[in-house]
């Protein structure tokens, strides 16, 4: 049956309600099984040895003493993970990041690993591995790394995307450019121009559950991986590629996930665990410590961004330009490119140009972090927009409304928008009581907008109807934010049965067709599309079964309110058949009943949000408290509003942490100074007010219920919203995130000195 995903307005019974979450009891009682909760008989303990140097040539590794230690079953180095990338630079980067080959590229880079019978033997074995390093000059700062005299990390990196191609290697891997119109001509028409440089520091996703897995390679070439991941199918592919395994022989099962935020879309120690298991011939459990998570798993980019925006006195932006420099860790990435694409996406601009520079540095390989690259760009752009509004004497919200993109606007990164939510979120912000609430002493208010693309992608869902008429849907997108509840609601809606009768499970890679991972805010959007399609297929089967049971034509049967109903003068005295009625007879009418769906979910629909933030700053210490915070975002359709609010709040909180205190602090030696939650300061509960939310529902035309992804956009505006609030509270512009107390006091002192 062909599936029509287009939006149709309809009365909804389940979608939009707030039932109890299906995973709640397991999680609060500790029964839920996370990555480190899986165990196998005979499993070994895996540990990774990491470089203490930011940049060093590996002269020699001697593992003989470790191998000789009683209880050690395997020691692996890069030699056990031979390069099978076939010249594919991205695959090689992942491999080299999992296990350093010629050089250690950052403090914490893996250089060897052991598998031993217990943790204390493994720890002792690590100490017996001798690594001889030749320490090389390092660079961690993005601007310093771009300078001509910076130590070059990789002699094979020649900047791509520039004409003519450079003849000497550098730390700049790529240049990208977006935009349209003529910015110079646009600036010439401006009455007022703001031109600034902004910096943001590197942050970590800060998921509470560290990376953990159990790997088991069998002698027949099959292998199993139980792992905490956002994408079991992607992990399967990447691990198979790196280890030279047959993809179909590797089965990956995802655990419950204690946060990922993008950090669990990339492999870290999993290929190492597989290599250890392959060598030891036994299952290997590898759990990263918090310190390892900070030192070696994916932080976001540190950035340096130049912004120039010009406007007429009436508030019309005439031109906008940004140059964005993003660190990507030691390997080339496309993080600046994403930043460049998102920079001015909220606005309808005649002349716009953005340029992204990808910069390699001696820091851990950058990973996706919730709307990757967008928050930093939004900080820079929304700070400049705010300053420009002040300068021309216009209200910050009105100024944005005047320039907001809408249906038909050509976006700064290329496509022309359909119906979008930036205007409505701004209008909602303008009329929100928060916007007009009085401010106390030392308090300031800021606001900012944010954009994210959202994604759909490959999706496969199985829907099985049990003999009792209850329904199980097996999905391949890991539930990171409540998708099992949302998918159950949507399935219940489509079938017309109660939510309680549907159970959603996350299937392993051998039980279901390929699914893209849970990223790009796609989990609920794409899997619900497939679930609806699968449900419609199952309804078709049930109508056919009812036809058999009644011995009438299937054309005379409709599906309504969870029942097969016979229509037409001759049939309408037949009592409708429920799902349970039909399921009970399945053995006699053709066997088990199921619906399947395989599709590429297109048309995810871009997402916008507007945030309002009040802070109070102690002008003598720079101490900042967020006293009120409001998130306004378009959800298309909020399937389970609690979860949508949770996504809004969670993103806002992560953004507040990033804005105020979170940052990687490096010593002069290039070592990370704060690889732990004590000194890497994510907000604690008492740091935050209740985050207020307002859900707007502007239906996505490409989803049957109008759903849009909601998971990421909420982290985009907070950096700017907080910085604008702080700037307004202390009456000094802040240009460097995090706006930590020392930075605020320094800015105040500089201003006092004049």
């Amino acid at each position: 049956m062909t599936f029509d995903p287009s939006y149709k307005e309809q009365g909804l019974k389940s979608v939009g309600t707030r039932p109890l979450r299906p995973d709640g009891v397991d999680k609060v009682t500790g029964r839920a099984r996370y990555g480190a909760d899986f165990n196998m008989p005979g499993q070994l303990v895996g540990r990774v040895l990491r470089s203490p140097h930011a940049h060093a040539r590996i002269v020699r590794i001697d593992t003989s003493q470790a191998e000789a230690l009683k209880g050690v079953k395997a020691v692996v180095t890069a030699a056990d993970l031979p390069d099978q990338s076939n010249g594919d630079a991205a695959t090689f980067a992942v491999l080299d990041n999992c296990m350093a080959r010629k050089k250690a590229m950052y403090d914490g880079h893996a250089v060897a690993a052991v598998a031993a019978i217990d943790a204390s033997v493994a720890k002792a074995a690590l100490k017996l591995i001798v690594v001889e390093y030749e320490v090389l000059p390092h660079v961690v700062d993005v601007d310093v790394a771009m300078a001509a005299d910076a130590p070059v990390l990789d002699e094979t990196v020649f900047t791509t995307g520039v004409e003519p191609a450079p003849k000497t290697p550098s730390n700049v891997a790529n240049r990208s450019e977006f935009g349209h119109g003529d910015v110079e001509a646009g600036f010439a028409k401006a009455d007022m121009i703001v031109e600034r440089n902004y910096k943001t520091e590197q942050t970590h996703q800060g998921y509470i559950e560290p990376h953990a897995c159990v790997a088991n390679c069998n002698s027949d070439g099959t292998a199993d991986l139980w792992v905490c991941t956002q994408g079991p199918f992607v992990y399967r592919q990447v691990c198979a590629d790196l280890l030279g395994l047959d993809v179909s022989k590797l089965r990956v099962t995802s655990s419950e996930i204690g946060g990922g935020f993008g950090g669990k879309t990339h492999v870290w120690a999993e290929p190492v665990a597989l290599a250890l298991s392959r060598k030891a011939g036994r299952p290997v459990k590898l759990v990263m410590t918090r310190e390892e998570v900070f030192r070696a798993s994916g932080p976001t980019s540190a950035t340096s961004i130049d912004v120039k925006i010009g406007a007429k006195k009436d508030g019309t932006i005439t031109a906008a330009e940004a140059t964005l420099r993003y660190t990507s860790g030691p390997y080339a990435g496309m993080w600046a490119e994403l930043g460049a694409m998102t920079s001015f996406a909220c606005y309808d601009l005649e002349n716009v140009k953005t340029v992204g520079w990808e910069v390699v540095v001696n820091r851990p390989k950058v990973a996706a972090y919730r709307a990757p690259s967008a928050p930093m760009a939004a900080f820079a752009i929304e700070s400049a927009v705010d300053e420009l509004a002040h300068k021309i004497g216009m209200d910050a919200v009105d100024f944005r409304i005047k320039n907001a993109a809408s249906d038909g606007s050509k976006s700064s990164y290329g496509p022309v928008y359909g119906p979008i939510g930036i205007g409505p979120t701004l209008e909602a912000a303008k009329s929100h009581p928060h916007m007009s609430a009085p401010l106390g002493e030392n308090q300031g208010r800021g606001m900012a907008c944010g954009f994210w693309f959202n994604f759909g992608g490959q999706t496969c869902v199985d829907l099985n109807i049990g003999a009792d008429g209850t329904v199980t849907i097996a999905v391949g997108t890991v539930d990171v934010g409540g998708s099992r509840a949302s998918l159950s609601l949507i399935t219940a809606e489509e079938l017309g049965i109660p939510y309680e009768n549907v159970k959603a499970i996350v299937a392993d890679t051998s039980s279901l067709g390929y699914n893209d991972m849970t990223d790009g805010s796609r989990g609920t959007f794409s899997s619900s599309m497939a679930a609806i399609s699968a449900a419609r297929n199952a309804i078709q089967v049930m109508r056919e079964r009812a036809a058999t049971m009644w011995d009438i034509s299937v054309d005379d049967i409709i599906w309504e309110d969870g029942h097969a109903k016979a229509v037409g003068a001759t049939h309408d005295n037949l009592a409708p058949l429920s799902v349970a009625d039909i399921a009970a007879e399945a053995g006699n009418t053709g066997g088990p009943i199921a619906g399947h769906s395989e599709l590429v979910a297109d048309g995810a629909g871009v997402s916008f949000g507007t945030h309002i933030c009040d802070v109070e700053v102690d002008p003598e210490t720079g101490s900042t408290r967020v006293v009120r915070y409001t998130v306004i975002q378009d959800a298309g359709k909020a399937v389970h509003p609690d979860y949508v609010e949770g996504q809004y709040q969670g993103g806002a909180v992560q953004g507040i942490g990033w804005a105020l205190n979170e940052e990687y602090v490096y010593g002069a030696d290039g070592r990370l100074q704060n690889p732990g939650f004590l000194d890497y300061r994510i907000p604690v509960c008492s740091d935050l007010p209740m985050i207020d939310t307002q859900i707007l529902e502007i239906p996505n035309p490409n989803h049957p219920y109008g759903v849009r992804g909601v998971g990421e956009t909420s982290i985009v505006p907070p950096l700017a919203a907080v910085a604008n609030a702080v700037s307004n509270a202390v009456d000094v512009r802040m240009f460097h995130i995090p706006v930590s107390p020392p930075r605020i006091l320094a800015a105040l002192n500089a201003q006092a000195k004049g």
């Binding site: 210490t621 101490s623 205190n661 004590l678 300061r681 604690v684 740091d687 006091l745």
Partner: protein
């Protein structure tokens, strides 16, 4: 690694005195257990003092308070007489970590961990607290300020345990206060700490004063110049300014992940001044 939980203090001292040197006292464990998880930590013996007779008690004597080494900080705030006498010490101890941490951690542990940023230490030093130490050679009592000698190091000899913290009875018209700066609201380590303890004369002027800074030097800094500025005053604006200037001058921090030198110096002055104002008010002072 061996774990022992002796019932008497003599037994505890014996165990430690006869150990191979890799022995640790375990009080609340909020520092020790965290360190034990590190790859570079090695212990052959851990002596838990929580079951030692009397260690979990706060005793009020004619001279003051005897606070057993295993008394968790949360219990301090439940002792009405102690709170009335030394509100600054109690508030310092109850800034440590969170409610959960406070239910385990002790002031003795905070002291023996010898972190420059320990919260209860500046307040104890300002209050002229002493530590009663027991060891193989018997008991001795020293000023709390003399326990930590450098970051992570104490003057305790092998086999020695702090048995109790002794706080004097404050004289009439005494007030103390402790303030610390952290970027968050809890679960953080002091970037700067400032404690003030002062007593007023019958005429309401400051008669004695101690001003102590934490986290701005390898050990606590007793700022005599700030105390001198307070003496004889009723905390005029000028006095407070002098206290602030003296604290800034005495502050001798490093640049690190928790704050810059410039920031710490400036905030040391602000907190010293603010703590003095609170202590003065608690002593019944009127400017």
């Amino acid at each position: 690694m061996r774990y022992e939980s002796p019932a008497t203090i003599e037994n505890a001292v014996d165990l430690l005195a006869n150990s191979d040197g890799h022995a640790f006292v375990l009080a609340g464990g909020t520092d020790l257990l965290v360190r034990m998880k590190g790859d570079d930590f090695n212990a052959s013996l851990v002596v838990d003092i929580k079951s030692v007779d009397g260690m979990g008690q706060i005793e009020e004597t004619a001279d003051g308070f005897v606070i057993g080494a295993a008394v968790p900080c949360a219990a301090l705030s439940e002792h009405a007489a102690l709170v009335a006498a030394w509100p600054g010490v109690v508030e310092a101890a109850n800034l440590i970590g969170s409610t959960q941490v406070q239910s385990r951690c002790t002031m003795s542990g905070n002291l023996c961990n010898a972190s420059p940023a320990a919260d209860s230490v500046p307040a104890m030093v300002a209050a002229n607290a002493q530590a009663r130490i027991i060891g193989p050679d018997g008991r001795r009592t020293i000023d709390v300020a003399d326990v930590p000698t450098a970051p992570g190091q104490t003057s305790l000899a092998k086999g020695e345990i702090i048995e109790a913290i002794l706080l004097p009875k404050p004289g009439a018209r005494t007030g103390d206060a402790y303030l610390r700066f952290i970027p968050r609201t809890e679960m953080d380590i002091a970037v700067v700490g400032a404690a003030v303890n002062l007593t007023l004369d019958t005429d309401g002027t400051v008669q004695t004063a101690r001003v102590v800074l934490g986290a701005v030097a390898p050990s606590v800094v007793v700022v005599d110049a700030a105390a001198d500025a307070l003496l004889g005053s009723k905390l005029s604006e000028d006095t407070l300014k002098s206290v602030e200037v003296a604290c800034v001058a005495a502050s001798n921090p490093i640049d690190d992940k928790r704050g810059t030198v410039e920031f710490r110096n400036q905030v040391a002055g602000v907190l010293g001044r603010r703590a003095a104002a609170i202590a003065f008010e608690r002593a019944g002072g009127q400017s």
